[in-house]
């Protein structure tokens, strides 16, 4: 592999998050290094998705600090996270159902577009130029994900596996430096999983994108991630390279207890 893992770019310190009485996350700290693939695993309801939501500001933790590229703050704002280069996919597909594949992926580039609505209304120089430029970038993403044939299809008509791919496309279109993936392979068959794995590895390898990944398939996780953090009932019970984590007694207990 050509990439080399760099310094810490995201550092989460003592994050706690509650919903009413439910403690979703309790005092969790871990970090993510540049260019690495960092997996978060744990049984259902462990707080994995909540963790991603804290990272890009969908949820605001009651305690703790988030340090991203040296900037410390108590909470992120989602659009802020986006402009700083964090993109993301969701556990339950969150595509824009009323739009085509192409339009969905184009939205991924919204933050990079400068023309204002008046220019759009009149379709003046810059609006038109931008549309073409960004379309070109989006077509690259479409080629990369091999979804040329469904470009103009409304996403709601696509099968599940393809929807997941389009959602990845929308995130990639933003050319993020950090990509948060929430169970990108859930509900896929073996072939689809292999494709998705390949895409993730390629993105990481060729573009150097840092990836934070939630995945239930242990085979995949152990194969592709550099380091793994393990959550259970909102607490961190393990953190390290795959081999370390695999042999961590607490992790084994949690997984056996949860019936895995």
């Amino acid at each position: 592999m050509s990439r080399t893992i760099g310094d810490v770019i995201l550092d989460l310190q003592n994050i706690s998050l509650r919903f009413g009485g439910v403690k979703a996350l309790t005092d969790i700290s871990f970090d993510v290094r540049e260019h690495e693939i960092r997996a978060i695993i744990g049984p259902n309801g462990a707080g994995k998705s909540s963790m991603l939501n804290v990272i890009n500001g969908v949820y605001h933790p009651q305690e703790g600090a988030i340090i991203f590229r040296g900037e410390e703050r108590k909470k992120m704002e989602p659009h802020r996270a986006a402009t700083q280069g964090i993109a993301r996919t969701f556990q339950n597909i969150a595509l824009f159902k009323g739009m085509t594949v192409l339009d969905n992926i184009m939205t991924g580039r919204l933050t990079r577009m400068k023309a204002n609505f008046l220019e759009h209304a009149l379709w003046l120089g810059r609006a038109k130029r931008e549309e073409l430029e960004h379309r070109k970038k989006v077509e690259e993403v479409i080629d990369f994900l091999e979804i040329q044939h469904i470009r103009k299809t409304p996403v709601s008509r696509l099968p599940y596996g393809l929807q997941k791919r389009v959602e990845l496309g929308r995130a990639l279109a933003a050319e993020p430096s950090m990509l948060l993936l929430d169970e990108p392979m859930a509900g896929m068959n073996v072939e689809e999983k292999q494709d998705m794995c390949r895409f993730i590895l390629d993105v990481n390898d060729q573009l150097g994108t840092t990836i934070v990944l939630i995945e239930h398939d242990m085979g995949v996780v152990m194969d592709i991630s550099d380091r793994v953090v393990v959550l259970d009932y909102g607490k961190k019970i393990g953190d390290g390279v795959p081999d370390e984590v695999k042999n961590n007694p607490e992790v084994i207990k949690a997984y056996l207890g949860a019936g895995h």
Binding site: F19, G20, S49, N53, V58, F90, Q91, N92, A94
Partner: protein
């Protein structure tokens, strides 16, 4: 001060009537997630069917029974032919469908029962209570008091019904979680039909009270517009919220009607009557600023 109290009390009493209409909204929203804009039209339909049947020579009690049957059948039909077909549509589509439903009723009901305004006599007169008038010199309407009492009884019995009967518990369960409701063993469709029946009953009571007070006429449909700000203040899912919201709106609206126009007149000149059309809405928006989830609603964070 006496005058202020008089206004306040009559405001609170008419607020109870707002609560009654709001209650119809809350019941349906809780059980099926539908924001039923047709609630006002249902009030109109109920009142019209009572006077319509009475015109044919039936006594009041019979007319009420007939109207109740009409409302229940209507509710079941709505559930079966409209809402069930829209199950997987976004809530806003359901809402718009109920606007269509309101128009449907507003067109159909007067064709069946006649459209000219009529009086409805339910045996309570609208005159001041003498004891209060003599003792404190305040004008409090007998009718308003009786109406408030009836509404209070209805609300209490509904609350008890929800709390202590099997169907009531099932209804609450549906509100929380459709799967859980299924496990109680009552089909969802029955539950919805029952809810629409109950909402029809509430509309009937509201229609008779409002109709007896202001005459049975098209304007009864506007009771829905009175109830919407109540819902905003109380929250869409809370029965106590509907009651407290109704009281707040009723009282503040009456007070504003009396005290605001003179103030505005001295500021701008001219005549500023008729603020009751918008005042409750602006008040409700003010409330939203402070408590977006309503007085009794719970804060909700979208799950992703």
């Amino acid at each position: 001060m006496r005058f202020f109290l008089e206004v306040l009390i009559s405001g609170l009493l008419s607020g109870v009537m707002y609560s009654l209409v709001a209650l119809g909204f809350v019941l349906i929203y809780k059980a099926s997630g539908v924001f039923n804009f047709a609630q006002g039209a249902m009030v109109y339909l109920a009142a019209l069917s009572v006077v319509g049947v009475m015109e044919k020579g039936a006594p009041l009690w019979l007319a009420v029974i007939v109207a109740f049957i009409v409302m229940t059948l209507f509710g079941i039909a709505t559930e079966k032919f409209v809402l069930r077909k829209l199950v997987n549509q976004p809530p806003i589509a359901l809402f718009m469908a109920t606007i269509g439903l309101a128009f449907f009723i507003e067109g159909l009901a007067p064709m069946v029962f006649g459209s000219d305004p009529r009086a409805l006599d339910i045996g309570i007169v609208d005159e001041p209570i003498e004891a209060i008038l003599n003792r404190w010199g305040m004008v409090i309407s007998k009718f308003d008091l009786a109406a408030a009492a009836i509404a209070a009884v209805l609300v209490t019995s509904l609350a008890l019904f929800f709390q202590y009967t099997r169907i009531g518990r099932a209804l609450r369960a549906v509100a929380d979680d459709h799967q859980a409701a299924l496990s109680i063993g009552i089909p969802l469709q029955h539950i919805w039909a029952i809810v629409w029946g109950v909402a029809g009953f509430v509309a009937l009571v509201a229609g008779m009270l409002w109709g007896a007070r202001n005459g049975v006429q098209f304007a009864l449909t506007f009771t829905a517009l009175k109830a919407l700000p109540v819902l905003i203040i109380g929250g869409f899912t809370s029965v106590p919220g509907a009651i407290v919201g109704g009281l707040i709106i009723g009282a503040s609206e009456k007070l504003a009607e009396i005290y605001l126009p003179p103030l505005m007149q001295s500021a701008f000149g001219g005549n500023f009557g008729g603020i009751e059309g918008w005042f409750p809405y602006v008040l409700a928006l003010g409330f939203l600023l402070v408590r977006p989830e309503g007085l009794f609603g719970e804060k909700h964070i979208d799950r992703v």
